[in-house]
């Protein structure tokens, strides 16, 4: 049995806990969140499991028993991960986190270097996982590229109907804002998906490509009432002077053709598609749980999804 401790019990943290509770082979031994509304509640009841787990939410690690993996869902920002990840590593646990910035941390940043050092000294691994970034636009295209003789470019289009997702995502994607409000919040970094650049970095790392220029455009999508229905983002990464990575993401109300499409340009040209798009919250929690069950095999340090997809197209120059 894999013993998990769940740190951070917001929406995604609760969904991950529920996923772990339902998976044969996992035993949840700890649930941690200092929020006063959560401390003391039964973790299973809180997470909507439909039954109590007999496990109280604790405000910190005091009294949490020995375990194998910490599942950390506290933050989207790398700088805020030092404390929860440090605490888990100090107790000898591997760590999986849904933190978007952890999925492809700029490897030279002081935050990434510090986490890597902590993990190596603890002899454990730390990895960021999720559906996007982490799977649909990076890990999965990498695996599909293994069937390519010659890979010119990777293009991914993800079109998500925001009404099928958790309510927080509508706010993140600017649904209902005026165009002016959208603009203001965009400047403040409050709307838009963080993760396309992370996906591009994972793809480049996996394929052995060096990105020269990385450009991203974000624009609101219009609605009949003049407000925004969501967001459209497009990233283009130049490798050798040509756009070899193109990632396009639409998250909006009433999208015309929801789905994920992965094009691999080259020989043979390949186009894989799923309709509608891979469900975001469910897939993210599934990835966290599945990665947790395989984490022990990874070498110690700060790892990425690229380490989990050795089957991929490779160029060495």
């Amino acid at each position: 049995m894999l013993r998990t401790v769940h740190v951070g019990l917001g929406t995604i943290g609760q969904l991950c806990l529920r996923a772990a509770a339902n998976r044969p082979g996992i035993r949840i031994v700890g649930a941690i969140d200092p929020h006063p509304d959560l401390v003391g509640r039964d973790a299973g009841t809180l997470a909507g499991l439909g039954r109590p787990l007999g496990l109280r939410v604790e405000p910190d690690w005091t009294g949490v028993p020995e375990a194998d993996v910490a599942i950390v869902c506290t933050t989207s920002r790398l700088v805020d991960l030092r404390e929860p990840i440090g605490a888990a590593l100090a107790r000898g646990l591997d760590v999986v986190s849904t933190c978007e910035e952890l999925v492809a941390p700029p490897i030279d940043s002081p935050e990434a270097q510090e986490l890597d050092g902590l993990a190596r000294r603890a002899g454990r691994s730390v990895l960021g996982a999720g559906v996007n970034p982490g799977f649909v636009m990076d890990a999965l295209p990498l695996v599909l590229s293994a069937a390519m003789l010659d890979l010119e470019a990777v293009r991914v289009r993800r079109v998500v109907d925001v009404r099928t997702r958790r309510p927080q995502l509508a706010a993140k994607t600017g649904v209902g804002l005026t165009p002016a409000e959208f603009e203001t919040r965009l400047m403040r970094g409050e709307v838009g998906h963080v993760g396309l650049a992370a996906s591009a970095r994972l793809l480049a790392a996996g394929l052995g490509w060096e990105i020269e220029t990385l450009g991203e455009a974000v624009r609101p999508l219009p609605r009949a009432d003049g407000r925004c229905s969501g967001v459209h983002q497009e990233l283009r990464a130049l490798v050798g002077g040509v756009p070899r990575i193109v990632l396009e993401l639409t998250i909006a109300e009433a999208v015309a053709a929801p789905g994920d499409t992965i094009w691999l340009d080259g020989t043979p040209p390949l186009e894989w598609r799923i309709t509608p798009a891979t469900p975001g919250e469910e897939a993210t929690c599934a990835l966290v749980v599945n990665v947790a069950l395989g984490l022990a095999a990874l070498p110690a340090g700060l790892r990425t999804m690229v380490d989990l997809v050795p089957l991929r197209y490779r160029e060495r120059r």
Copy 2:
């Protein structure tokens, strides 16, 4: 640079050599085939590279320089691999082979045990790769399953237009035979795709499932002139009393809807599709080359594609 030696220069062996010659990061240092029509010819010209490689086809390993990986395309049968793989391991090379029976060798068979022992003693790895078995019906569904909270069943349908493939495949799939001829050759094991059972074994190994019963049905498909247009095969594997692996393969002339479709039943239900089907020969050679470039990271021994897809759904019971 990865240095490769190509052993067996039939159709697939030539395609693999061409794929390696065109890949940045690979240098071909040896080409071996004892067939009198091939010995002495330039490997590049023979393989249709459009330019000579300046490398003669040799009848055996004599004079072949130091190298990293042997790409063995001599046979579809495990019993015939002892000699070519043994020779490569003895010289300190890792081995990738297109031998279908190597993709998921019955691990307790004497042949598999012997290859595993040879590889371990040499400190090298041996792996069977290809599009089917090896990718579309096993490695790829395994990776897609990583996005599943709960996986009830894996179903794959591959529908191939035989006219898009190498001529040998039409013979293997009984195109043009009378139904009686088909029946006779089926009994002799001369028609039909070997590999569905291998894919089922890989899936089960990767998912932690134990197959109780494995049933496979093979039937010829009819053509207007009363002869066979190809073959339809279906495999059903029972796990816990229910069919959790269903693999369906059609290889025929004038198929209605060529394509590969992967269904993952459970939560969330997923359906990934490519139309037409992943090109067989090109993808097989691509997989061989891409696997070769990543082989050094695997532990010594007889490996399978499951080792290359640590990102997957996992159950422990």
